[in-house]
Symmetry: D2
Subunit: 148 residues, 4 copies
């Protein structure tokens, strides 16, 4: 898979490392391509719901971050990104390990739309466990969040 430029990868990695939630969940940034970012999460008791599956909220959290960073890869240096909204369908229980893939579908001056896909692995087989869509807003340098 194509990698983003070293500058973009450094920028995305630095931002990801400031996300306390990603570290707390144990999420890992595993691919930074142009308009495409992967974030992975292993199941452990800290990320489950009442049946022991990975919680829809944890699935949503890494999907949201994957989309946000996919958008950031196509933004000019010095800008930042905020999630406007996201929607996620949960298709199958996520059991051992999940990989969220955020892909930019359209990036405009103000708004960017990403596809969110989350794949699970079960017995070595990869399948779609969640699919969604996200809208993001680009923030100019020194923005107030009221821009949103």
């Amino acid at each position: 898979m194509e990698q983003a430029s070293p500058e973009v990868r450094a920028r995305v990695t630095a931002s990801f490392e400031r996300q306390g939630l990603m570290r707390h969940l144990g999420a890992r940034l595993t691919h930074i391509g142009p308009g495409r970012v992967h974030i992975e999460l292993d199941s452990r008791p800290e990320v489950t719901q009442q049946h022991g599956y990975i919680h829809a909220g944890a699935t949503g959290a890494i999907a949201d971050s994957a989309g946000g960073y996919a958008a950031l890869t196509v933004f000019p240096d010095g800008t930042d990104v905020l999630t406007v909204e996201y929607k996620l369908n949960l298709l199958a229980p996520a059991i051992q390990h999940i990989q969220a893939v955020g892909t930019v579908l359209k990036s405009g001056r103000t708004l960017t739309v990403c596809r969110l896909e989350v794949f699970g692995s079960r017995d070595g087989e990869r399948h779609l466990v969640a699919t969604g869509q996200q809208t993001l807003i680009r923030l100019q340098p020194g923005p107030s969040t009221e821009a949103r």
Copy 2:
């Protein structure tokens, strides 16, 4: 606010306590009414995004759980609930403390739809930081998740 019956509150509380993610985030179940559940979360570095606000994924996680448990309060004993999909708009940065309110809008034999609202507190004032909608499916006793 009206409380659910002791039986329902016990059922919801027991399920919530099995959600490893809620405990890991530090989320607290603060109200269980008929068709309405509140979950609260204090900000701390473990739940933040890159600017120090509460991460949209953490906001989404407690909103998803609040809606799921709101649905569970109106289901017959012995049934369970799974999220089919949820959609969340982030309206304002969530800074210190958030309260997610899940409210059942319509509950049918198979599907239930909840409104999700998340309120933040800033300088003692309560304001809406996120608003969303969620579809859930009722699982009969001994269901396979393939019911979904």
Copy 3:
């Protein structure tokens, strides 16, 4: 119910009358309040799906317009509005007549979020047939649609 100012009502009405789709469907603008607009539609064969209910697409169309005009009531004169995205849950079949209510939940400099509700009438009783959420963008005078 509170009415918007005559100026705002004139502006919304003029825009609505330019929407060929609303006229073609037979939709009527029945209330223009500050941050709230109603659009109504009677069932007839031209707006149905295969079972004779009002088509989810017709329900969505008037809900989308109701939200868009609700946003327009709070915008400054000379600006315009475009739908960024909308999400609608269909809760019950819509049979005879529907009323879409768009209500502004939050209006920022760039983006506005509306609640969309659609009520049906059956045997004189009003009930919720669809509920949704919508994100809109404000366009400055002389904007290119690339602003989106």
Copy 4:
């Protein structure tokens, strides 16, 4: 592109022809494949919004029908389909002609999830004008809509 079986195509076509809204809008069913259906619409004053673009509601209506019929192609004979919810992002103005493509992403016993894509043509070039996601429910023979 692969065609669905003659039986499935007949079933989908018969249902589409009973949708008064599709006929009223001038929508045409142009492809019925296994798990994939195309519906097309030409712009004319009857389907526009206030700037003369195709109305988001008309775009949503044909996208919703395309997804619903894509689901129907994978259902057993004698069953029917209802939209549970759909979400659509509008990415670019739709000017002359649009093609909605509904594609089944996952079909379970009860629920089916479709991707919705709408392509526009401008100066002979095809581009994505809207993208969305839809949840549908399968109805057994003789169902009450309360199944939803």
